[in-house]
């Protein structure tokens, strides 16, 4: 154990002195998360704010007064005339207009008989056009409702009959986690990904780099066992992976604490995690870090040099990235509650972290996730030790 710790201390010291490791694994996550969340906050604010835009209409004179004033007070700051429907279609197709409207002749009269049809020209390929259509539909829907209410009131019919079935919403959230925060899908992904990328930037130097520089031979001539050397390096790499992941969390906490104008709607309630949630996240993260470190070290030990190591790592990162990315969207499907998620490496960790952020603890899922990560870490480290014990670690050409 003494030799393992001795190697761990030396490797850690060397890694922490490497500017690439410090910037990639420790400073990078904090800064990037900060920037990503600011961007997220900006987009979120922009989407929530009613967008004042130009409304294009064919035959402005047919625009009913009630609708014109509703549009002016809502989303349309300016109303522009389009000569014909085909001109309107061209404008929408070319992305110059989000929505072009044509009102029927004598619209108010037709509306009184329940026979007014408005033509809305939009482009479903453009999200902004889709949003403009939905916004316009909402506006017309509101006008319809008001008109219906007037009729009902005039005839002395109870107003409730207009909406005979109503929905009463009740919040069943435990209130312990991040709740409805939009980040609950993104955070597990960031935590998982940075645990991997922090180590990925450092691992090539640990074994493949030592081979290339000739220091591995010196190390292997020492009387320390190959298992101890491998474990010392594994511990140092695990620390980098863990700190990298925690750095990404630090970025999130920083954004939540500072409550900047752009990002305050991302954490409307701030971050309130219970001790149990924090412990659950750590229980998932530590085996995950061991799993990533083992896997990364296997690649670095197999590679002949830094360049080969980096090539393999780039491929490996895609394999890791896919389930991590999927974890962001799984809650929108029924798969999120399936048991198979608990046995899918990486996905199970992200899913368990998500549960913990929501204040939910699933002991079976957690146990499965921890066991699988540890099993992969053990197999990887067994491979690393086998490679260290074979002379090919130095002679493979």
């Amino acid at each position: 154990m003494k030799a393992i710790l001795h190697i761990f201390r030396k490797e850690t010291r060397e890694l922490f002195r490497d500017k690439r490791v410090v910037s990639n694994a420790f400073i990078g996550p904090v800064v990037l998360i900060f920037v990503i969340l600011m961007l997220f906050g900006f987009l979120s604010s922009a989407l929530r704010k009613p967008k004042a835009s130009v409304l294009y209409v064919v035959a402005r004179e047919q625009l009913p007064q009630g609708l014109a004033s509703a549009l002016a007070s809502g989303s349309a700051s300016q109303i522009k005339l389009v000569r014909s429907i085909s001109d309107g279609e061209a404008l929408v197709r070319d992305g110059k207009a989000n929505l072009v409207i044509r009102f029927p002749e004598n619209m108010e009269a037709k509306a009184a008989t329940g026979n007014a049809k408005i033509l809305a020209i939009f482009n479903p390929d453009e999200p902004a056009s889709e949003i403009a259509l939905q916004s316009f539909k909402g506006l017309v829907g509101q006008l319809n409702k008001t008109a219906a209410q007037k009729i009902v009131e005039a005839k002395g019919i109870p107003k409730g009959l207009l909406e005979p079935i109503q929905i009463e919403e009740k919040n069943a959230s435990s209130g312990k986690g991040l709740g409805a925060s939009m980040l609950v899908g993104l955070l597990p992904y960031l935590i998982v990904i940075w645990a991997f990328y922090g180590g990925m930037g450092s691992v090539s130097d640990l074994v493949a780099g030592e081979k290339e520089r000739g220091t591995l031979e010196t190390l292997l001539i020492s009387p320390v066992s190959r298992t101890q050397i491998a474990l010392g390096k594994f511990l140092a790499l695990s620390l980098v992976c863990l700190l990298s992941s925690l750095s990404s969390l630090l970025g999130v906490i920083l954004v939540a604490t500072l409550r900047l104008p752009l990002t305050k709607n991302l954490f409307p309630e701030g971050i309130h995690l219970s001790v149990l949630s924090i412990l659950s996240i750590l229980a998932v993260l530590l085996p995950l870090v061991a799993f990533f470190s083992g896997l990364l070290l296997t690649v670095s030990s197999y590679a002949k040099n830094m360049r080969e190591s980096q090539t393999y790592l780039a491929l490996l990162s895609i394999v890791i990235l896919m389930p991590a990315m999927f974890s962001q969207f799984i809650s929108y499907t029924d798969f999120g509650k399936s048991r198979w998620v608990n046995v899918m490496p990486v996905l199970n960790s992200a899913s368990s972290i998500r549960d913990a952020l929501l204040g939910r603890i699933d002991p079976i899922g957690l146990a499965a996730c921890v066991s699988i990560s540890l099993a992969i870490a053990a197999v990887s480290m067994w491979l690393v030790v086998v490679m260290f014990k074979r002379e090919q670690i130095l002679t493979r050409i």
Partner: protein, 266 residues
């Protein structure tokens, strides 16, 4: 792979041998070659006495490095046996490694550590207690005059300074056996001279040394006995004088060429 111990390995017996090999062979599989198998070292039996400098003299690719790598337990012999400082290189590799120091021209240092940190690290790996380690670090730093750059990063050192630190690392744990694999290759004259002087001093302190080189003058200057290795086989062994006498050549260079069967016409 099981070891085959060839019969007929001689034993001196008068002086305890610090290094002894018997039928030592190493084969590599090389898929790029037609034959597939490369016989890097073939049936080598040598003995090196305590306090002796034994030179492995051969051209590039003769098998010198493979031989030293087997003796220092980095690679396993395909067949044959070898003992270093009384321990079998296959059965007790860690005990062998505890008793050896290894230096080559390509031996590198950790660029982001200082020479002092490198020495402390390797001292720890060799199991030196903190008191003993401090004492040995101070000793090697004095001996090799490392003080002026002891706390700067190794990456910033000149080639000569790096080589002095490598020497310090090699002798830090005071091993009885030292292996030098072409230690002066690629170095300037002054740095090369430092290493030669260091090897001479090591001999005076009773170290057993195996020294591989292809430079005849170095072999003549340092070695008590020389083994001429060619295409993986020892094809001549003895003192410099005896090899010259046996081949009837006036210089070591010519004696070497005669031993390996080189002729100008070829």
């Amino acid at each position: 792979m099981g070891m085959i111990k060839p019969a007929g390995c001689r034993r001196y017996g008068r002086i305890p041998q610090m290094i002894r090999t018997c039928g030592l062979s190493k084969e590599f599989i090389d898929p790029k070659r037609k034959a597939g198998v490369v016989h890097a070292v073939e049936d080598v039996s040598i003995e090196v006495d305590n306090g002796e400098i034994y030179g492995l003299l051969g051209v590039n690719g003769a098998g010198k490095t493979t031989m030293l790598r087997m003796l220092s337990t980095i690679i396993r012999p395909t067949s044959g046996t070898a003992e270093v400082a009384g321990f079998d290189v296959v059965k007790e590799p860690e005990r062998v490694r505890a008793g050896i120091g290894f230096l080559s021209a390509s031996t590198a240092l950790y660029g982001r550590l200082s020479p002092r940190e490198v020495l402390m690290y390797f001292g720890g790996l060799y199991g030196l207690s903190s008191g003993k380690l401090a004492e040995r670090v101070a000793y090697v730093m004095d001996k090799l005059n490392l003080h002026e750059f002891a706390d700067g990063l190794c990456d910033k050192l000149s080639t000569g300074q790096k080589q002095r630190v490598s020497i310090a690392r090699t002798i830090l744990h005071d091993p009885p056996v030292l292996f030098f694999d072409e230690p002066t290759a690629g170095l300037d004259v002054v740095t090369g001279q430092t290493i030669m002087e260091f090897i001479e001093e090591a001999k005076m302190t009773g170290k057993t040394i195996v020294f591989s080189t292809h430079i005849m003058s170095e072999a003549e200057r340092l070695c008590d006995r020389i083994g001429i290795i060619h295409e993986g086989k020892i094809c001549g062994e003895g003192t410099v004088a005896s090899i010259k006498e046996r081949t009837g050549q006036p210089t070591m260079e010519k004696a070497f060429l005669a031993t390996v069967g080189y002729s100008a016409a070829a």
